[in-house]
C-alpha cells in the first residue's frame, strides 16, 4: 500500500529525525514506560466513553484500570533496572565464553568507561564552576559558558560513540543490554506486575471507597430486578 506524499511542517520533520527521539525509541525501558503511560490514559478513557455500560460500573472499571496501569508503570520503573543489570551480567558471561566476542566486549567496556568518566567530569565541573563563581560573587561570562558547552558536547560525542549501532564493536554489548531489557520487561510486566498489583490496587480501591460502593450497587440491584419481574 502506497501512502501519498504529504507536505509536513519542517519543525515536525526535524523532531521526527532528531537523534534524541531515535535514542528514546530504541531504548527498551523508555519506550515501554511511555507505552504503559499511554495505556494508563487510553484504556480508562475508552471504558468511560462506552455508552452501553452502567455509569457506576464504568467508573469503577476505569479507575481500576488506571490504578493497575499506574502500578505497572511504577513497578516497572522500580524493578526493571536491577533485573536488567542482573540478566545482562549473565548474558555477558555467556558471551565472553566465546573468544571471538572477547575483543568487542573489552572495547565496549573501555569506551563506556571513558563515557561515564566524561559524564561525571561534566557534572562535577559544572557544579564546581557554579560554586566558585557564586563564592566570588561573579557572574558567568561567555568563556565559561562556552567551556561548559564544549564539555557537554564532548560527553555527548562519547555517549553516542558507545550507543552507535553502526559500530560493529559496540553492537554486541549494546544488543545484549537491549536483550536483557526485553527479558526484564517481559518478566516484570507479564509475571511480576500482575501478581504484585493485587496487593496494591485492591487496598487503593478500598481507600477510594470503590469496593464499598460496588457492594452497595449490587445490593440495590436485587429489589429493582424483582419489581420489574
Amino acid at each position: 500500500m502506497k501512502i501519498p506524499s504529504i507536505t509536513i511542517p519542517l519543525k515536525i520533520k526535524e523532531a521526527m529525525c532528531s537523534p534524541r527521539l531515535a535514542e528514546i525509541a530504541e531504548n527498551t525501558i523508555s519506550a515501554v514506560a511511555i507505552e504503559t503511560a499511554l495505556k494508563m490514559v487510553g484504556r480508562p478513557t475508552f471504558i468511560i466513553t462506552d455508552k452501553k455500560t452502567d455509569p457506576k460500573t464504568k467508573k469503577y472499571a476505569a479507575i481500576k484500570e488506571f490504578l493497575y496501569q499506574g502500578t505497572c508503570l511504577g513497578l516497572y520503573l522500580g524493578i526493571v533496572p536491577p533485573v536488567k543489570r542482573a540478566i545482562n551480567k549473565f548474558i555477558i558471561s555467556r558471551l565472553s565464553k566465546n573468544p571471538a566476542n572477547a575483543e568487542s566486549i573489552d572495547a565496549y567496556h573501555a569506551e563506556s568507561k571513558i563515557a561515564s568518566t566524561a559524564r561525571k567530569a561534566y557534572r562535577r565541573s559544572g557544579s564546581v564552576i557554579d560554586r566558585t563563581l557564586s563564592s566570588l560573587g561573579l557572574k558567568k561570562n561567555e568563556v565559561i559558558k562556552t567551556a561548559k558547552k564544549e564539555l557537554l558536547y564532548a560527553e555527548k560525542v562519547l555517549r553516542e560513540k558507545v550507543a552507535d549501532p553502526s559500530n560493529p564493536k559496540m553492537q554486541l554489548c549494546k544488543g545484549s543490554k537491549e536483550l536483557s531489557a526485553i527479558i526484564g520487561s517481559v518478566v516484570t510486566l507479564a509475571i511480576v506486575a500482575p501478581e504484585l498489583s493485587h496487593f496494591i490496587v485492591h487496598p487503593m480501591m478500598k481507600i477510594l471507597g470503590f469496593d464499598k460502593k460496588n457492594e452497595e450497587v449490587k445490593s440495590q440491584v436485587v429489589p429493582q430486578v424483582s419489581i420489574k419481574a
Binding site: 500500500m1 502506497k2 501512502i3 506524499s5 504529504i6 519542517l10 520533520k13 526535524e14 521526527m16 529525525c17 537523534p19 527521539l21 531515535a22 528514546i24 525509541a25 530504541e26 527498551t28 519506550a31 515501554v32 507505552e35 499511554l38 490514559v41 484504556r43 475508552f46 471504558i47 462506552d50 452501553k52 455500560t53 452502567d54 460500573t57 464504568k58 469503577y60 472499571a61 481500576k64 484500570e65 493497575y68 548474558i91 558471551l95 549501532p165 553502526s166 553492537q171 554486541l172 554489548c173 549494546k174 544488543g175 545484549s176 537491549e178 536483550l179 531489557a181 526485553i182 520487561s185 507479564a190 500482575p194 460496588n214 450497587v217 449490587k218 440491584v221 436485587v222 424483582s226 419481574a229
Partner: protein, 188 residues
C-alpha cells in the same frame, strides 16, 4: 522436560548483534503482549478467591486483549513507517539528524497503545464474549424461573409486602454478577 536443549540452541551472539544493530520498540511490546496473553489468563484462572464465572470472563478478556494487541502493534508500526519518505529531511538542511524510521515505529506503537487497541477491544470484546458465553447462556438465572420474581406479581395482587427469604436473595445475587461480567471490575 528439560529446557537446557532449547537454551543451547539459542545463539545469544547473533541475537545480541541483531538487536545492537537495530532495535525497535515493536520487539519489546510484542514480546510483552505475547507473554501477557499467556500468563495473565493463567494467573486469573489460578486465583481461587474469585467466582469461577468471573474468573473465566476475566481470563478470556485478558487473553483476547493481548491477541488483538500483537497484530495491531506490528501492523501500525509498519503502516507509520510508510510515512518515512514524507518525513525525511532534505540534504540541504544542516544539523545532526537521523532517519525517521525508528521514531515512526515508536509513533506507531504509541498510537496503538493510546487509541487503536482500546478502541478495537471495546468494539470486538462484546462479540468475543458472546461466542464464549453461548454455552453458559442457559445457566444464567432468569427472572422468569427465579422463584422470588415469580412470587412478586401474586404478592402485589394480594397487597402483601414482599419479604424474600435469604436463600432466594442468594439466588438473585447471581444477577449482580452478570453486571460484573459486562466489564465491572474486570481488568482488560
Amino acid at each position: 522436560m528439560s529446557l537446557r536443549p532449547i537454551f543451547k540452541k539459542i545463539n545469544l551472539t547473533d541475537i545480541s548483534n541483531a538487536l545492537g544493530a537495530e532495535n525497535s520498540a515493536v520487539y519489546t511490546v510484542v514480546a510483552v503482549a505475547a507473554f501477557k496473553g499467556i500468563f495473565r489468563p493463567f494467573f486469573t484462572m489460578k486465583d481461587k478467591k474469585q467466582d469461577p464465572k468471573s474468573r473465566k470472563y476475566a481470563a478470556i478478556r485478558e487473553g483476547a486483549t493481548e491477541i488483538i494487541a500483537i497484530p495491531t502493534y506490528i501492523g501500525l508500526a509498519k503502516l507509520t513507517a510508510k510515512l518515512a519518505p514524507s518525513l525525511t529531511l532534505d540534504k540541504s538542511i544542516k544539523g545532526n539528524f537521523t532517519s525517521p524510521n525508528k521514531a515512526l515505529h515508536f509513533a506507531g506503537v504509541c498510537l496503538a497503545a493510546l487509541i487503536v487497541i482500546p478502541g478495537l477491544c471495546s468494539l470486538a470484546m462484546p462479540y468475543i464474549l458472546k461466542v464464549f458465553n453461548k454455552n453458559d447462556k442457559n445457566k444464567v438465572v432468569s427472572n422468569e424461573i427465579n422463584p422470588t420474581a415469580a412470587m412478586l406479581p401474586m404478592a402485589i395482587a394480594l397487597g402483601q409486602p414482599v419479604r424474600p427469604e435469604k436463600t432466594k436473595l442468594f439466588n438473585m445475587n447471581t444477577y449482580g454478577k452478570v453486571t460484573m461480567n459486562t466489564g465491572g471490575g474486570v481488568r482488560i
